[in-house]
Structure formats: C-alpha cells, structure tokens
C-alpha cells in the first residue's frame, strides 16, 4: 500500500516537474524570441520521407523527427512543439491513434496537426479531418507549395 502511494507520489512529482519545466523550460525562449524557427514534430517511419520533408522545410522551421508514434509520445513529454506532421501508417500505433493520444494531453490539445500520408483514396481526407487533423496533405508531395502553405496557414492561425 505504501509502495503504491510512493508510486503515486513519484508520478505527482514528475507531473509537477513537467509543469514547471513548461513554465520556465524550452518553450520560454521561443516565446521571448519571436524570430526563432518554430518547432514542428514529424512522425514518419520512412527515413526517405523524413529526409524529404527536412529538405522541403529547409531552415524555415526546427524539425523534430520521430520514427514511431511511441518515440513521438515519449519525446513530446519533454519538448513541446507548435505543429505536428503525422504519417498515418505507422508501426504499432497509427497516426490517428497517435493524434488522439496527443490530444488527451491538455498542453497539446489545441496544437494543429497535418496528416501527411499516402492514403489518398476517396473518403480518406474526410476520415482524417473527422479524426481531428486540421489538414490532409497527400504523398507523393508533387507540389511542395501545398505542404508549406498548409503549415504557414496553421501556424499563422495560431499566433
């Protein structure tokens, strides 16, 4: 019983530490320095796809790459981001499930997310928008302007 309370206590302390780190942590410099690159998380299991998105975004944004939904969830506990680019077909936990986990966290409940996916059949767009994604950009990315435009629009709407 004591052990259980200890565990609870640890959890509570961890949560408090996280809250504190949010208040004075890595987020703060971004807020103070408006010209710094805005941070985007990319979750895609295909390394070539990640490389391509990095090449398209270039130096405009700070890009955090994650190969799986689990890596992304773990990393997001520590480092907040302003936008998500999420592939749908991911090993273990797909992009839709990942987004719902992200949205469970009140800190990220309103962070915009783009489904960046090769699922481009009729009805897919509607499905992803209904799942809570703000945008749906299809792969192959034939016109990178569509991706860049969507990112700018969503980040612009947020500030």
């Amino acid at each position: 019983m004591d052990g259980f309370l200890d565990l609870l206590d640890q959890d509570l302390q961890k949560a408090l530490a996280r809250l504190e780190s949010r208040e004075d942590g890595p987020d703060a410099p971004v807020a103070r320095e408006p010209r710094a690159a805005r941070r985007i998380a990319l979750v895609d299991d295909n390394a070539d796809n990640r490389l391509l998105v990095r090449a398209i975004l270039g130096a405009r944004y700070e890009l955090l790459e994650h190969g799986t939904a689990f890596d992304a969830l773990a990393a997001l506990q520590e480092v907040p981001v302003e936008l998500f680019l999420i592939d749908i077909s991911l090993p273990g936990m797909d992009g839709v499930e990942l987004l719902s986990r992200i949205r469970e966290n009140p800190r990220m409940a309103r962070t915009p997310a783009i489904a960046l996916t090769a699922h481009a059949m009729a009805g897919d767009r509607e499905r992803f928008l209904a799942a809570g994604f703000e945008e749906h950009v299809t792969k192959p990315i034939v016109d990178e302007g569509i991706l860049l435009g969507a990112i700018e629009r969503l980040l612009g709407a947020r500030t």
């Binding site: 295909n46 796809n49 391509l52």
Partner: protein
Amino acid sequence: MKAPRLRHVVAFLVLTGGGILTASYGWESRSVLVVGILLSLLATWLCLTLSRRAARVQELVRFRTGELEWEMAERKRAEAEREEEGARFRAVFEHAPFAVLTVGEDGRILMANPKAAETFGYDRGDLAGRPVEDLVPPRDREAHVTSREGYSRDPRPRPMAERGSLTALRKDGAEIPVEISLSSFATRRGRAFLAFIQDVSPLKTAKEAAEAANRAKSAFFTNVSHDLRTPLNSVIGFANILLKNPEGRLAGDELLYLGRILENGKNLLSLINQVLDLAKIEAGKVEVERHPVVLSTLVRAVAGELASQVREGVRLGVEVCEEDGPIQTDEGKVRQILVNLVGNALKFTEKGSVTIRVHADPATRCPRTLEIVDTGIGIPRGEWGAIFEAFRQADQGTARRFRGTGLGLAISRSLCLVLGYEIEVESEVGSGSTFRVVFDPKSDPGRA
C-alpha cells in the same frame, strides 16, 4: 325359382296320386280322397311358402354378405388411405429439411422431427415433453412465454419475428440464428402449435464470408494505393528539390534528366491513380452521390483548370446554354469524365480547336447531352469501340506520339455506366472527333 316350382309339382302329383290309390282301396273312399286332396294341397302350399321363404332368406343372406364385403373393402380402403396419409405426413415430418416442432397449449413439445433434434443437438426422443423454452436463450425466455400466449390468442400462420432477430439455444449451450414460421391446428385435447424452424447460420456464414471478401478487396485497394504512392514520394519530391538547383551547381543536361525523372514520376502517379480508379469502379466499390449540379458552371470551371494544357494554336471553347437547369448527378464523377475527355481532346489536337458543348432541352433548359468536339487526328471507324477498352489507343504509333495511359476513356465509360449515362464517339481520321455523353439515353432518342 324354377327348380323349387318343379319340386312342388312333383310333390303335388305324388301326394295326389297317393290319395287316389288310397281312395280306390278303402270304403268311404270319397271322403278320404277329398281329405287327401286337401292335405296334398295344404302340403303343396306349405312347401311352396317354405321354399319361397328360403329363397328370400337366401337372397337376403347373399345381399347382406355382399353388403358386408363392400363395407369391409371400404373400411380397408379407408384404412389404407389413412395409412397413406399418415405415411405422407411422416415423410414430410421426418424428412423436412428444417426443424418441425408441435407444441401443446401448455408450452410442452409434443413432437419433434429428426431435423429438430439435429438442429438443437438433442437425441431424437429427448425433445418431446420438454418445455419449448428450453430451446430459447435464458435472456429471451420470459419474452417467449409472453409471445407464445399472444400467438395462441391469434393463431394465424405467420413468421414468428422479423428476419434476423431470433436466436435459439442448442443443448450444448451454443446459440444459433434461426427463422421461425408458426401455425396451429385443433386436436382432441385442444389446440397445438406448429413451429417450422430454419437454422440460418449457413446463410449467415455465407453472408459474412462475402462481406469479409469485400472488406479484403477494399483493404487490398487501400494497401496497393498506399504502397505504390510511397516510393513515388521520394522520386517526385527529391527531383523537385534538385530541380530548384538553388546553388546553380547542376548543368543543363542534368536538369533535363531530372525533369524527365520528375515528369515520369508524375505519369506513374497518374497511371496508379487511374488503374485504381478503374479497378474500384469495376469492383463496384464506387458510390454515386447525386446532388443538383449546374452543368454550365462545372464546364467553365473544368475549362479553366485545363487552360494550362492548351497548346499554342489550339483554342479551348465552351458553348453552353445560359441559365441551364441543374441536373441530379454526382459532380465529382462528371468532373472526372469531363477532365478525361477534354484532356484527351487537347492531347490529340495539334491545331484547331477543342469545344465543350452542352445541349439542353429547349423547353425545360435541362441538359441532355455533353459533347467534346475536337479537330484532332481522329479515330478510324473500326477503332471506335476499342478505344473505350482499358489500355487501348487507336494504334501503337499514336500511343508513342501522344503519351498517356489509355485509361481515361475506359474510366469515363465505366463512370458513365455507373451514372446511367451513355458515351459514344463519332470521328473522322484527319478532321477530328466528337465524344458525346447522353444523360438520359432512354428518353432522348432523337438527339442531335
């Protein structure tokens, strides 16, 4: 009758003769003679009467015997008939391909056929006498009693419940989907109810198998589409990035080659999209969503979108009647047909014009046909049908000169089929082609 009469005459003669002989020997012979004659007369009458009686009795006996024989035959026949009827009933009851139960007013099973025993997993003799609720899952038992009582108040033949809503309980505890028809009949001990019960699990299994196959087909399309598009993301994406050549390090040839990689990547993407479109349409995986669509607006929009594909020396024209009435159709599909047909026309027309024309009914202003008229290379008459088949272009030389998948027309025709439209072509080699979509082929025999 004749034989007795002869006997009587002989008896009469003998007696009379005896009388005369007696009379001739004694004295007082006269009175003896009279008495003798009288006696013989009496005896003759007696004989006559008796023999008549006997004949009647005999006749009666014969008649009665005949009657009895007939009655017996009749009884036998009736018995045979009853037996036959019983056999007929038993044959139906025993060999019915579905379970049959008769149930008394007290809710106990009176009779069960072999199929019933099989369906519910009991031994044959084990069903009779049980409450019929033993065959109902516990959660439904109370409702079953109520509905049974309801049925006995109005016992017309009818299905027991809506299709697909009944579940029965087997002896081993397994539940099976069933369909049940009810009827009733009168017996010496009150009313009995008949239940015809069909185990529909095989039907359900077949339906589920079909649904599973359908799901597998959908999943296959989804996976193929996703997995073919994924590698193209690298091909098209990186070619795009290199082509920007931001630091100017790539030479003219290299940029040309990169351009070819990009172009072919895009062609492959469009081929994948078209093949999947066609496969989906042909697998019946395409749903039609009809809404009111103003065709002139759609035509202008598509013409605007395709402006970039118009060659120098070719004019893309739109001829629509103003204020055309909306038609109930699937806008996305009509757009796709339009893009395919106009795109084709532009591809095969090196000079002259491509015109999109909508013919509307003069009275109702409702569009009846959509025409795409070009002044391109044309199609030989013998090829008019084949061009609508997948992967066919009029000749391979054309295919080489005008790159394309040859799927656009096949997709357009399939989409027209889905929408209930007709698509046709008229063409002359060297002067051009007209592709025509007829929106209501049945009511429009005299189209222009």
